[in-house]
């Protein structure tokens, strides 16, 4: 080590928004003030994954893991930990949140959140400064590219990918080697393209964002390997405009790689040339679909077109095009360096390697996790995620976003892979994993996703355009107390028609959240329809808040909390809610200390 100590500060979007940048600056200033700059290096890294406890600061070589750090803590961290060698106890992770802080966990490897994780894709996130190419190279970066260019033929690369069993991480799980092979063998054009799908449309998921922010060079390296393999000289990264930090880091990475001769003309002195350009998305979910994405790169409205022909032979400007997801690419350098056999030793029979999930919703440890395929949902939710907060009961987990479905309690022990999730009526999807508890209404979730897909439908084909609106309309009616028994069958019929007849994946999968919640929670639908009740307390039109005279002590807390002054009553006298004015926000219900208010 060139330095005595390294201070790693998380520079992922989550931590940045909690002033990680200020922490970084303050730490640098403190190091400066203590004249330690020759001995201690402060590095801003990508996401550590443990977003719930952010901002995170890690100090090497001791591996001390500090959580919830504030900018004003910089002085103490430097003066105590760095200068005096005394860890700052109050910033060390306290998993049980006990007041005496008796069960502190100092090192990352002992933190339960990390124990069942296995990092391939996120291997460099939180380890290196993504804005410094040398740090990527120091961790074997671009070694796979060198190996491919000088020691391998395109067919060897395909063979290695085939052995690895790597399947696309963008949702559909198509074998990557096959796609590359189609494009490599395409003879309809000399010009070919490599495209990276970084559109990450699933609302509530940020795997690709974190990978790009934390390790942009891994994507550039993999795309260049793809270019060499299929015979392309140009690559495009199509990324959401909503991801400014990732865009900026990609720009820096491209510039650095070009300066080092790792991208551009005659890469590493060979006769292979490859260039990468960034193209911005503009907030259309359907552009995550590959044919729509390619139309968007061409500068057009992002409307899907029927396949076949597939992009592998007729893609961007009708040229053969490899299109893969960010996470798929991030795996490639490791497959090349460690070998396909190594990769296929991880995971299940049909699904190899790892999967990155954005674990969010009603879960104690929200964050970005990477786990081997075949892990169970129970391990993810309870061992890694720490369970459901507030003593609430687990109800379901949703994977695959607007195209996916729910997994319920009884299937918590099913090993997660592409096939098993499909059998349960969900999909692997790109990695959004949203945990829901007893306070979440399944009908409302279905309605939420439908609202999303109706809004995002490009309108090109009728089943999606009209079917989606109809489904939404029925769900909305049920949630407002206007449902009829026949609605259940109607929902099923329309879903089937959309799944069968829509042109692209958006319309084909849009009914999935409805079909899946109906499959497991038909009772809850019936409750809304027959009893006109929402026991989760979400569908506002079916709710009524009532103050019970025998329990109300007239403390006036509820009346003061009510944002619309719907509660009246004398001090020390039972209060009353004016139902016509009530907006059903539940503020009174939450505020009452005497359980005098019921929700029904």
């Amino acid at each position: 080590m060139a330095y005595r100590s390294y201070i790693l500060v998380c520079g992922g979007t989550g931590c940045e928004s909690s002033h990680a940048d200020k922490i970084y600056q303050n730490l640098k200033n403190e190091i400066e003030a203590n004249q330690l700059f020759a001995q201690v290096q402060v590095i801003k890294t990508g996401c550590f994954g443990f977003c719930e406890q952010g901002p995170i600061v890690k100090i090497l070589p001791e591996n001390t893991f500090y959580v919830q750090v504030k900018p004003e803590d910089a002085k103490e961290l430097v003066e105590e930990h760095i200068v005096k060698g005394r860890p700052v106890q109050r910033l060390i992770y306290n998993p049980n949140e006990d007041k005496n802080r008796t069960s502190l966990v100092t090192e990352e490897k002992d933190i339960q959140f990390y124990q069942k994780q296995f990092r391939v894709v996120l291997r460099n996130c939180g380890m290196i400064d993504p804005e410094v190419i040398e740090e990527y190279i120091a961790r074997d970066g671009y070694a796979a590219l060198e190996k491919v260019i000088f020691d391998m033929k395109p067919d060897d690369v395909i063979e290695e990918l085939k052995k690895s069993g790597l399947r696309g991480r963008g949702g559909a799980g198509f074998p990557t080697w096959m796609k590359w092979n189609f494009t490599k063998n395409a003879t309809n054009s000399e010009t070919k393209y490599v495209v990276c799908n970084a559109d990450e449309g699933d609302p509530g998921a940020y795997m690709d964002r974190s990978t790009l922010e934390g390790d942009p060079h891994s994507i550039l390296e993999a795309m260049t390997i793809a270019g060499f393999t299929v015979g392309a000289q140009k690559g495009f990264i199509y990324i959401r405009a909503e991801y400014p930090l990732a865009i900026n880091r990609l720009k820096i990475a491209i510039k650095q790689a070009k300066e080092m001769g790792l991208l551009g003309e005659n890469i590493l002195g060979s006769d292979f040339s490859f260039d990468i350009e960034i193209r911005l998305g503009a907030g259309a979910f359907v552009c995550g679909e590959e044919t729509a994405l390619l139309a968007s790169i061409e500068g057009k409205r992002g409307m899907p077109i029927p396949r076949p022909p597939f992009p592998a032979t007729h893609g961007l400007w009708k040229k053969p095009t490899v299109i893969n997801n960010v996470e798929t690419y991030a795996n490639i350098p490791m497959v090349i360096l460690k070998g396909g056999d190594w990769f296929s030793s991880i995971g299940t029979e049909s699904s190899k390697g790892t999967k990155v999930f954005a674990l969010t919703g009603k879960i104690k440890n929200s964050g970005l996790i990477e786990v081997p395929m075949g892990i169970t949902l129970r391990e993810i939710i309870y061992d890694i995620g720490g369970g459901i907060p507030g003593g609430r009961k687990f109800k379901a987990a949703q994977s695959g976003g607007p195209s996916g479905g729910v997994i319920t309690e009884e299937f918590l022990d099913t090993p997660i892979d592409y096939e098993n999730l499909a059998k349960l009526g969900s999909i692997m999807g790109s990695g959004g994993l949203i945990v829901m508890d007893e306070d979440d209404c399944m009908l409302d979730i279905a309605k939420f996703y439908l609202d999303f897909t109706v809004d995002e439908s490009c309108g090109k084909c009728a089943p999606c355009r009209i079917g989606g609106k109809q489904l939404y309309g029925i769900l909305d009616g049920i949630s407002k107390g206007n449902g009829e028994i026949e609605d259940i069958q109607k929902l099923k019929d329309i879903s089937l028609a959309m799944q069968r007849a829509s042109l692209c994946g958006l319309g084909q999968t849009a009914p999935n959240p409805v079909a899946s919640t109906l499959r497991y929670f038909e009772k809850e639908y019936m409750e809304h329809i027959v009893d006109k009740k929402c026991s989760a307390g979400v569908c506002k039109d079916l709710l009524q808040f009532v103050i019970h005279k025998d329990k109300c002590v007239g403390c006036t807390v509820c009346a003061r909390k009510c944002p619309v002054n719907a509660i009246s009553g004398e001090r020390k006298q039972p209060h009353e809610i004016d139902q016509s004015a009530c907006i059903k926000c539940g503020a009174c219900y939450d505020a009452c200390k005497f359980q005098a208010i019921t929700r029904g």
């Binding site: 928004s17 509530g204 929200s366």
Partner: protein, 161 residues
């Protein structure tokens, strides 16, 4: 007849420079629209007309693209742009309540702008900070794990700036 509509807009030197760099590249329109919106905050009609002339693309095509993509705006937003995340994680943790409360506090509907042009309110999809749900941003600054009680404070921080 149409000539009258080609109002004389002066594009900044940087914008002109950007357009000429991209002019010959296939599929340039969306990138140029991004650059225009970065400068104006939306896509003014005169600029769209000017682009149509400079790039030799029909105005209808330009509007076809602008209206297809949610990101592009046709009207001028307020000085301070409040975006509330309505991605799944934030929705489950009360993103909807944040919106209703902001609508009440600012007296405007989602996608509206206050009469004094001070604030715009938008509902957006996941901004990738789901671990901090519910999340909102003001002029790009992220506020995570935010509660309705904190909203007046956030608004006053930006008011008059």
């Amino acid at each position: 007849m149409f000539e009258k509509e080609v109002a004389g807009v002066e594009l900044s030197a940087e914008l002109n420079q950007f357009i000429s760099e991209w002019k010959e590249k296939p599929g340039n329109l969306i990138m140029i629209l991004h650059r225009v919106q970065e400068e104006y905050g939306y896509i003014p009609r005169e600029v769209a007309l000017e682009l149509s002339r400079m790039l030799d693309v029909p105005l209808a095509k330009i509007y076809g693209v602008i209206t297809f993509y949610h990101f592009f705006k046709l009207t001028k937003p307020g000085k301070n742009i409040i975006q509330v995340c309505m991605g799944t994680a934030c929705y489950l943790k009360g993103g909807g309540d944040l919106i209703s409360e902001l609508e009440r506090l600012l007296g405007l509907p989602v996608n509206g702008t206050t009469d004094d042009g001070e604030f715009s309110l938008e509902a957006v999809r996941c901004i990738g900070c789901c671990g901090l749900a519910p999340v909102m941003t003001v002029n790009g600054e992220v506020f995570g794990k935010i509660t309705t009680e904190q909203l007046p404070g956030v608004i006053s921080k930006f008011k008059g700036n």
